[in-house]
Symmetry: D2
Subunit: 369 residues, 4 copies
């Protein structure tokens, strides 16, 4: 259960360490015939690229995607799509303290416990750079979903205590501010808060929200592979995420059935819901309304203050993490969450095609070449 492969039919395998020669992903199971170019991938990678703003690490990496297989004459061929991104900023430096000490809030200690050996340079496999492969795969999945009318949109719902009220959402703003917030004024407030964090040698957490529209009803499995269960895993597998909610989430815990249930209504042969407390999922399957999920992201653990810790020899010591680090992980993680959601949906969509005999029969009758 090595755990670098994700998905059943639409299956992605990421690889690479922060300071190795490259990182990448293999996307296996993408249907043949999807138009795909390096540029499609690049657009997604650019959204998580370092150096976009004051609030992201200054590491200089252009993160250029190269598609090495699975695409022929501009279309996928059904074979694995291998995407490679070279690491550029690998200058050797003094890792002294980091090499032998366990940074609080990081995977250093647990990695050592598990494997007994660790590529300490820049966090190795547990670096945020591991998510590059996820985002490249997310770009592929998003294009596949778009071709059947499904659109996945993630954004920053909160930075620390600065929360955009739902009534103030304007999705058009998401790409207008450095923080990917759906409201520019709140983004400005959040930016001011982040300045304060930087001044305090501290960092901030936040919340990422993701909305999926155009999802047909009935996607997801009824027991263990519920759509919401799959999304929860997908989102929680992103480093720094500590909580996941679907629809009303934890607010449902304090609600009553009469307020939490969504009434169905029919009009023009279409079934819809009057409200969407369920976040678009009922009994583990999509219900045709917008899927809505939220992820709680912890504050960047790398802070410039001295922190108490332990070294590999088991002695108490203190560590001060040098170098520039993002004061908040949230903005760059937005596209990572979006990608994980897209990959999960692509996988479940494909699996759903054989749910009924009538579909299987229709498929094999009308198949031809």
């Amino acid at each position: 259960m090595a755990g670098s492969t994700y998905g059943t039919l639409f299956k992605i395998t990421t690889w690479g360490e922060s300071h190795g020669p490259a990182v990448g992903v293999v996307v296996d199971g993408c249907p043949a015939g999807l138009p795909l170019t390096d540029t499609d991938i690049q657009e997604y990678l650019d959204r998580r690229r370092p150096g976009q703003s004051r609030y992201t690490t200054a590491r200089k990496e252009s993160d250029q995607a190269e598609i090495l297989s699975g695409v022929f004459e501009g279309r996928t061929t059904g074979t694995p799509i291998s995407i490679l991104i070279k690491n550029q900023d690998q200058r050797s430096r003094d890792y002294g303290k980091i090499k032998d000490c366990y940074r609080p809030g990081h995977a250093d200690y647990t990695f050592d416990c598990k494997y007994g050996i660790r590529d300490y340079r820049g966090g190795g496999r547990s670096s945020g750079r591991e998510t590059i492969g996820r985002v490249a795969a997310g770009a592929v999945a998003s294009r596949l979903l778009a071709s059947v009318g499904i659109r996945v949109t993630a954004y920053t719902a909160a930075i620390g205590a600065i929360t955009v009220p739902r009534s103030a959402y304007n999705y058009d703003c998401i790409h207008e501010n450095d923080l990917y917030m759906p409201n520019n004024e709140y983004a400005a407030k959040a930016a001011a808060y982040l300045e304060q964090c930087i001044k305090n040698l501290d960092s901030s957490g936040g919340i990422i929200e993701c909305a999926v529209t155009g999802m047909p009803a009935g996607i997801g499995e009824t027991v263990f592979d519920k759509l919401d269960a799959g999304l929860a895993k997908a989102v929680m597998s992103v480093g720094a995420v500590k909580g996941v909610e679907i629809g009303d989430g934890f607010r449902a815990a304090v609600a009553t059935g009469s307020t939490n249930n969504d009434a169905f209504q029919a009009a023009d042969g279409q079934v819809t819901k009057k409200t969407n407390h369920s976040g678009g999922i009922l009994g583990g399957m999509s219900d045709g309304s917008t899927i809505l999920l939220r992820a709680a992201v912890k504050p960047t653990p790398s802070i410039a203050r001295p922190q108490e810790t332990v070294d590999r020899s088991g002695s108490n010591t203190e560590i001060t993490i040098t170098g520039r680090h993002d004061p908040v992980i949230v903005p760059r993680a937005v596209v990572v969450i979006e990608s994980m959601v897209a990959v999960t949906l692509a996988d479940l969509l494909m699996a759903n095609m054989s749910a009924r005999m009538e579909w299987l029969e229709r498929f094999y009758c009308n198949r031809g070449k």
Copy 2:
């Protein structure tokens, strides 16, 4: 991706509908040599059995577990353990409305969208009775974990707005009150609130918490199969769960790095953490401290008030759900959450044995017969 099988090495497959002849589970991959009897399973099933209290459905089911395979002379043999529980309360009745209408908050509509056919009796496969198999498997996993010193304990942290403050926790009380709360006074307050809900023909949500002690550090995978990701899926796959948190969860989103990081400390050759905001997991791997997770459970969707809905022909209609239903799902779901956590940990533990060459070599050198 039929989705009734869960796990990789410790693999469980549940089956059965609410009103079919039986429900059950096959537990495959349990190591040989674990002492196991019907009684071990029964203890767990009794915790989710209906009719335990005023706040659980009056359905009369003794839910007797029968082990049909995989155990010989009181010990597991390494082969699949099949556990069957007969359904007893299958009296035929008039399902009229339920058959053709979609109950709000239930899986009726989405199930029909997916499969086009539905065993409407008592919710069919989407009934809470599906979790019986999970609990039987959880009993096996819990015994396996106990043999290496790992203990999983779930309880009710909140019913509606009645939340037990952490400072008032007393784990000894958990089995002293009908609601499985770690404080009898709060349990009494919650009971009073539930009486109110019943009077209002309404229902309540709540929060289940689960603590795992004795977990060795370094269990879990570093990327997609993070321990927290696995737990999130496990917990979210339980019907009615709408949110999952690890450690501080959503509170981490409003924290800062300096307060959220847990300092490491060493004493007597043991590494521990001064605090446990991380909930016992760092970088997707256990860090040796208590694993803590919380699940938000929505209010029972079956309420006695009339609700607007749609029928199978696509016409607007109204439904009133008759019969006695639990005014709150939480107490009986406690053991379900505990079971899913146990199964997930058992699976990851087993997978972790081959993480290092030194372990593999030691194993195959000292193996003998």
Copy 3:
């Protein structure tokens, strides 16, 4: 990798020991809407039932199938189909020697090496009774395949050196003789040979062949999950099978390209092949012609002669296996091979539906409810 679950989308999990209370299977992922009754299952089970003829063990078992879930009003619902078959012939007896000795050619020794504990009664999990679950699942898979025009037919091609020449095949005879041979005269010769084996306190091997017609072209994956690779695993996973061939199989090793290649030809818009050395599979995918595979089955290891062996304490000893045993495994294994082929094809068929964007798009556009 407990190994009692097989398949990805059409997934089966078998359980049960020879002398436990029951054996069974859970079939998960069968599309909803397939007509299915106990009788459909029974027909298949009856073909592997003991006591059918002089050449099968006299164990008295009616092997009655009960469907416990997943079928509602005569049709599958998309949920797991649990099928249970009670063991009837469990009279306690003296297992003395078998308990502590390793029978040559059986799994006793290796099972002990692996698990350290063993249900020695009748071979436990390694008994031929384990295949009952496979056959029940095969019945479901065969019905699913039949609904899209695919027919799987296995039969006995050889008993010992008595091989039916292909020119003498008459599929109508298969169910006319006890040995499931496609020629009654050869069946009579084989019966005479088996009488000789019985007289010699010996047993015979043989070859099972399986033909699949109606298979659309292009099913199977191109690399590891090739159709032939899947079939090889499926067939080799049946106890006693020691070899598998596709099409010309080992004869291809002595052929030349000019004689082994199958020329394509077109007529009336249909592409066919002039010959079928490939056995219906090219590059791991079905080519539209008949799929043909052969399995070599070893002689029954339980023979009435004294054999040298070792006991659990590691001392040399001798064992004589008492009781009546099939002098040949082949006839009863015919339906097991057929079942494993059917299950494998069902799984690959379902996976193939999402191979092309145009199919995915067409599916989600024409989907509706």
Copy 4:
């Protein structure tokens, strides 16, 4: 079920087309601490490299392996090992006929049926170059196995009708002749036969054998994931393989129980077998003796003679395949078979560590950091 990923705990994912920029593999789940260098990989790749002899294609490719991740300071870290091999011989040329015609014996037709689109250059994904990734992974698996004393050795047992008799085997010769035969005189005879094939514009099939020594008893699962079932799939997933045998294989079909059973014997506390008809596997688990398997390889389908076929428009036509092609696939496939066997064994070994409670308990008690 995209099918480019193989294995459960030791999991490999290959990617790449014949004429794309590169091919490669990601090996996930290799335990941490295994010494590994580019050279270890290169040694294996050199054994399947083109241009080694007169009997292999003249395509000029040095097939240089680059490890891009998962190795730090000369040892594996437990994270995915990405290995990339650039394609060098990609000169553009006229693919005219191949583009629009289906070559007999190749995957062109079936690929088109499945995906509707095809990278026709050099066979695309169905090219023999796909196996480069398998061999690179095999190099890793072989090193892992060697560290616990398991050695996998494949060689050419026959070319056409030229079969090396077992009594004439000399494993020291395997690397002394171009054909990887365990006897130089037979290799010379086979070479002469191949010259004849070339002269006849024809090609030859053959048989590859693989022997595994040092395998502990009890590895493999008892039902679907039998060791022999896994090996059969592994070997049959290599293009051109049409048959697989374990131990006596098809000869067991004509044997009797008394000659086919292997008697156990004990000496010095060791259990061994007097013969090895079983090929080292009983009941799906290793029995401690040498594992022996054989694979039938069909003749190279690319032959220089004109062949009847069909084009994409569905018209009958003729094709003559130009360029130099291997007159026999066998010698270069030897290391591919060896690699697939090694990968399969590595995966099963790792899974076996948790088969018994006593092992699990011992592991978690003696674990420490």
